[in-house]
């Protein structure tokens, strides 16, 4: 499925839109990490918690659940949230 990468993480992907696979958001992020090593830890901490200023949207809806099911036709947007000056 198509995944939009926010600008702070494009040093890993080299571009804004990438392809990745998985039946859940968690699997999708694991696949992204296989393709772009290191990228997952910048978004998800070692306790599998989403980092405070990274947000995930599936087809425009925010999700806070790595177990959320995703389909190959979905569009996942990873967004940087406000984090101060």
């Amino acid at each position: 499925m198509k995944v939009l990468i926010p600008s702070p993480l494009r040093s890993y992907t080299g571009r804004a839109w990438v392809e990745a696979e998985g039946a859940t958001l968690g699997e999708l992020l694991a696949d992204l990490d296989r393709r772009y090593p290191g990228i997952r830890f910048r978004m998800i901490d070692e306790q599998d918690r989403m980092r405070r200023h990274v947000r995930f949207f599936v087809n425009g809806d925010a999700t806070f659940d790595l177990g959320q099911a995703v389909r190959p036709t979905d569009e996942v947007c990873i967004v940087q949230a406000l984090s101060g000056g």
Binding site: M43, E46, Q47
Partner: protein, 401 residues
Amino acid sequence: MATSPRSAAVRRGNAVKAARRSPAAKTTRRIAVLVATRKGAWIFRSDPSRRSWRADGPHFLGHVIHHLVLDPRDGRTLLAAAKTGHLGPTIFRSTDLGKTWKEAKQPPAFTKKPDGSGRSVDHTFWLTPGHASEPGAWYAGTSPQGLFRSDDGGVTWSSASPINDDPQYIEWMGTAQDGTPDGPKLHSIIVDPRDPKHLYFAMSSGGVHESTDGGQTFRLLIDGLEVVEGFSRDVPTFHDPHCVRLCPGNPDRLYQQNHCGIYRIDRPSSTWARIGKAMPKKVGDVGFTMVVHPRDDDVAWVLPMDGTSVWPRTSVAGAPAVYTTRNGGRTWQRQAEGLPPQQAWWTVKRQAMSRDARDPVGLYFGTTSGELWMSRDEGGRWNCIARHLPEIYAVEAAELA
């Protein structure tokens, strides 16, 4: 150290004599000053006389860089502790003095706890190269407090000690409220140059700790240290060592700038002595940073800040000054020539003061207002090398290969 007090004292005496006899390393190596800031990193390179400086940077513009450290064992490998406002923490590594950078494959991270009680690293705060006999070994201190080690030059990191998961230690580390506004920190990781298994570290908050078995076990080293009035000295959580330094010229002597004063300890004694009481009363002995002479264990420098009333943590009275002792803390002299005489309200953080190993020693510090200052004569006169950098978190002077 598994040694008798007597043999330690003899060894110490020998080390001091040797150190005082030996001249500074005669070297043509150039000095680089590694500056880590809230918005990126810079490397300032000097000519051999340390008079002119060239800025190389920014590296990692916009990244929060807490520490940038050169490996003294090869003179070319750099590690940078990084995070950004949005992203989790990582460590970048360069083997060509910052021309190219590669991210660590496995940055410092705590053990995952299935019950959800596990801690997560917010940022790596402190980096210390390992012992000279262990090439590729590095230690990292994190926020919240954790001690990590790499044995491959910073590519992969793992827990360096059972303390990271020890309930007693986690209790001593306290809550976020017991740490600095930027999170509680493990810092001042020190490797005894005589013994790779002899380690020290400090925690803000959480006190000073020592290991003689390479980090498998630690014991407290807080006797003699004061805490804020009304709290118990017996509770490690109330201890806030800001910066601990070991004297290379005599590894049995350590100095410390604490939230509650300036201290010295001479091992094997386990009691710190408050040498800051000899500071002028109007200045006090509160500060973040401390630097020790590379050869003479009687010489150290501090940069006092205002720790009165609401704790402004600015320079005292808006007139920044370095104070030096040349007799182990019995007396202190003010060193402010060249520094602004008034209306300069900056602070120098605990990692933001450093020195080289030349003779005379060069001193360097960076301010919260983004100025980089240096002295070529052990603090006699100060010159500003750079202005208008972002808030400076760390300054390290290093000799390039």
